[in-house]
C-alpha cells in the first residue's frame, strides 16, 4: 500500500497488488509458439505444401520443446506448487483452467509425442543399433522393444501419423483458443471479456509460431553452413503474411468495436491505453510489432527482391513479429490488471528482478526451450539431408 505502487485514482483496497506477473505473460506466449509451430508442420503433412517440408521436423521439435516448458511459468507462479497435481486429481469441470490441464495433456501426449515418435521411428530404430552408452539406451527405450521397420510397419506409421496430424490441427486450435478462453471468459474484466479473445489468441499464435520456426530454420541453416532453401522461406513468409492479415483484422475489429460501443468501461480502458499501455500497446504491439512487419511482408509479396534481400526482410519481419506478439500477451495479461474493477483508478506493475516471478526467472524460462530444442535436435536430428539418407 505504498505510493511506490504508482496508484492513481480509486482502487478497491485488495486490488493494489497485481495478481498475475510476467510469468503469466510467458505462458500464453509459449503455448502460442507451440500451436503455431504445429500448424506450420501440418501444412506440409495434411495440406501437402511440399515447399515447407524442410521445416517439418524442426517445427515439431520446436513445438515439443516449448510445450514442455509451457507449464513451468504457471508452476513457478503458484502459491502452492506442490498442490498442482490437484488439477488432474479433482478437476473442476466449470473451470477453464482445469480443463486446460487436460487439453495440454491431450496435445502433448496424443498429438505431439505420438506424431514425433511415428515420424522418427525409423531413425530411432536405426540409431538404437548404432549408438552406444546412455544415449543408446534412450533410443532403445524409445523403440519400445520393437525394431520392425518393414515396409508394412512404416506404412502403418504413416497412416496413423496422418490421422494424428488431422486430429492435431483442431487440437492445436483448441490448445491456444482455450488459452484465450481462460482470459476471455472472465466477465468481471472488460479488458479480457470478449468472445473474440480465443480467436485473436489463435491467430496471433499462428503468427508467432510460424515466425519462430522460420527464424529457427534460417538461423540453424546458417549455423550449419548449409544453403537456405529460399522456396521454403518464401512459402513460410507467405503464410505468415496471410495469418498476420487475419490476426491484425481481428485485433482491429476488437478495437473498433470497443471504441464504437464505448460501454461503461471504455473511458477507463481508453485512458489506460493512452497512458500506461502506450509504449507496449501502441508503439510496440501495433506500430513496431504489427504494422511494420506487415508492411515488410506485403512489400515482399508485391515487389521482386533478390534472394539475399528477401531473406533479410523475412528475418527482420519475423523478429518484429515475435516482439509484437510478446507485447500483445503483455498488454492482455498485465493491461487487464492495471485498472480497478471500479473503473475509477489504476495501479502499475513493478517487475522484480531476482525473484521467483521476476525478470530473471522469465529470461531463464525463455532460454530453457532453446536448450531443450538443442538437446532434442541432437537426439533426433531434423535436418532434411539426414532424412533423405534414411
Amino acid at each position: 500500500m505504498q505510493a511506490a505502487h504508482g496508484v492513481e485514482g480509486f482502487l478497491y483496497p485488495n486490488e493494489v497488488e497485481l495478481q498475475w506477473s510476467i510469468l503469466i505473460v510467458l505462458y500464453p506466449y509459449i503455448t502460442g509458439l507451440v500451436a503455431g509451430a504445429f500448424i506450420l508442420a501440418s501444412l506440409e503433412r495434411v495440406f501437402k505444401v511440399e515447399a515447407v517440408k524442410p521445416t517439418y521436423r524442426l517445427a515439431l521439435l520446436t513445438a515439443l520443446a516449448f510445450l514442455l516448458v509451457a507449464p513451468l511459468p504457471l508452476q513457478l507462479h503458484l502459491g502452492h506448487p506442490e498442490r498442482s497435481l490437484e488439477m488432474y486429481l479433482t478437476p473442476h469441470r466449470s473451470s477453464a483452467m482445469a480443463m486446460f490441464g487436460f487439453v495440454y495433456l491431450w496435445y502433448l501426449m496424443v498429438v505431439l509425442l505420438l506424431e514425433i515418435w511415428l515420424d522418427y521411428r525409423k531413425d530411432i530404430v536405426q540409431l538404437s543399433k548404432t549408438t552406444r552408452g546412455p544415449v543408446g539406451w534412450i533410443y532403445k527405450a524409445l523403440t519400445l522393444g520393437s525394431s520392425n521397420v518393414s515396409e508394412g510397419a512404416l506404412r502403418a506409421d504413416d497412416r496413423i501419423g496422418y490421422i494424428v496430424t488431422v486430429i492435431g490441427i483442431p487440437s492445436a486450435f483448441l490448445l491456444h483458443g482455450y488459452v484465450g478462453f481462460i482470459f476471455g471468459s472472465i466477465k468481471a474484466n472488460p479488458w479480457w471479456s470478449t468472445p473474440l479473445m480465443p480467436i485473436v489468441f489463435l491467430f496471433s499464435a499462428m503468427v508467432s509460431g510460424i515466425a519462430a520456426v522460420m527464424i529457427l530454420y534460417m538461423v540453424s541453416t546458417w549455423m550449419r553452413k548449409k544453403p537456405l532453401d529460399t522456396r521454403c522461406v518464401d512459402t513460410i513468409a507467405k503464410y505468415l503474411f496471410y495469418a498476420f492479415v487475419i490476426d491484425f483484422s481481428l485485433e482491429m475489429l476488437d478495437l473498433i468495436h470497443r471504441i464504437y460501443e464505448a460501454d461503461e468501461s471504455f473511458h477507463t480502458l481508453d485512458f489506460m491505453v493512452q497512458t500506461r499501455l502506450y509504449m507496449s500497446q501502441v508503439v510496440l504491439q501495433i506500430m513496431l510489432g504489427t504494422v511494420a512487419p506487415l508492411a515488410v511482408l506485403a512489400a515482399t509479396q508485391l515487389w521482386t527482391f533478390t534472394e539475399a534481400v528477401r531473406q533479410r526482410l523475412y528475418f527482420a519481419s519475423g523478429v518484429l513479429t515475435l516482439i509484437g506478439i510478446f507485447a500483445m500477451r503483455w498488454n492482455v495479461v498485465i493491461g487487464g490488471q492495471l485498472f480497478s474493477k471500479s473503473f475509477l483508478g489504476y495501479t502499475s506493475y513493478k517487475m522484480e528482478f531476482a525473484h521467483r516471478e521476476g525478470l530473471l526467472a522469465a529470461i531463464a524460462l525463455m532460454i530453457l526451450p532453446f536448450l531443450l530444442l538443442w538437446g532434442l535436435v541432437k537426439l533426433l536430428p531434423p535436418w532434411p539431408e539426414n532424412e533423405a539418407k534414411a
Binding site: G79, G101, A188, Q337
Partner: protein, 249 residues
C-alpha cells in the same frame, strides 16, 4: 468448564432471547470450545447480509472487528468501507476513497456534492464467478449459501481473484492461499452474529438467514428499495443494500 458456571448459563439462557440453536451453541462458544456447535444444520440456513447505507457512519468498527476476529493480514481486507462523493449530476465520476480500507475512520473533508459511506464485503454470490473458475474445488458454495475457501486445498493460482467483480479476494501472505470473508462461518454456525455486525454501532449491517421465515430480513427486503452491487454481473449477490446510490461501483 466449571460446574457453577454451567448452571449459571442454563439459568441465563432462559431469559435471554436466544434461538434454541444459539442457546445450545452458547456454552461451546463461551467455553472457547469451538469443537462442533452440536445443533447446527447446514440445510436449514441460507445466509445473507443487509446493509443500510443511510445508517453507515464510516467509523471503521466493522473493518477493525473483522481483522481482529479473522486475523486479516495488514493491507488486505475481508470487509472495508468506501466514501463516495458524487459531484452534482456527473454520476459516472464519483470521487471515492477508502484510506486503509476505512479501518481508521475517515478524516473529514468538505463534500463536493452528495457524500456517503458504502461498506463492502464478499457478496456470497449464489452464482459465484470465483467458484466457477477455481480449477480444483478449493473455493465453493456451501449448502448454507456461503462462499468459502479451503486453505488446505487452494493452489494459489489466483484465477478466482481475477474473476471476482467486487475485489473481495486477496492472497494471504502467511498461507500463500486465497483468503476472503467467510461471513464469520465459525460464529454464525454457533448462533452468534458476524464480528462486523457485532461491532457495528448503528445496526447498519445485519446478518440475515433467508431460510428462517421469522428473520426480520424479509420485512426489510419487502418494505425498502433494495439493490445489490453490480447487478449487471448477475452473480446472485446476497448482500442487499438499502439506499444504494446509482454511482456506486
Amino acid at each position: 468448564m466449571p460446574q457453577g458456571r454451567r448452571d449459571f448459563l442454563e439459568q441465563a439462557g432462559r431469559w435471554l432471547f436466544l434461538t434454541s440453536a444459539a442457546q445450545a451453541a452458547l456454552e461451546f462458544v463461551v467455553a472457547g470450545n469451538a469443537s462442533a456447535a452440536p445443533n447446527y444444520n447446514m440445510h436449514t440456513h441460507w445466509w445473507a447480509m443487509t446493509i443500510d447505507i443511510t445508517k453507515c457512519i464510516g467509523c471503521g468498527n466493522c473493518v477493525r472487528a473483522c481483522a481482529e476476529e479473522n486475523g486479516v493480514p495488514k493491507g488486505f481486507f475481508r470487509t472495508w468501507i468506501e466514501r463516495y462523493d458524487v459531484p452534482g449530476w456527473e454520476m459516472d465520476r464519483p470521487d471515492v476513497d477508502a484510506p486503509n480500507g476505512g479501518m481508521d475512520g475517515f478524516p473529514d473533508k468538505p463534500a463536493k456534492g452528495k457524500s456517503f459511506f458504502v461498506p463492502k464485503l464478499c457478496n456470497h454470490c449464489a452464482h459465484s464467478p470465483c467458484v466457477q473458475v477455481c480449477p480444483v474445488g478449493a473455493t465453493f458454495e456451501t449448502p448454507d449459501g456461503l462462499v468459502i475457501v479451503d486453505e488446505q486445498y487452494c493452489l494459489g493460482c489466483r484465477y478466482c481473484v481475477q474473476a471476482c467483480p467486487y475485489g473481495c479476494r486477496y492472497i494471504n501472505p502467511k498461507t500463500n492461499t486465497v483468503d476472503k470473508c467467510t461471513l464469520c462461518y465459525h460464529r454464525i454456525s454457533k448462533g452468534l452474529t458476524t464480528a462486523c455486525c457485532e461491532a457495528c454501532p448503528t445496526g447498519c449491517r445485519q446478518l440475515a438467514d433467508l431460510k428462517n421465515p421469522k428473520d426480520p430480513v424479509h420485512d426489510f427486503l419487502r418494505t425498502n428499495s433494495i439493490q445489490v452491487l453490480k447487478p449487471q454481473m448477475a452473480t446472485g449477490s446476497k448482500v442487499y443494500y438499502r439506499g444504494l446510490d446509482g454511482s456506486v461501483r
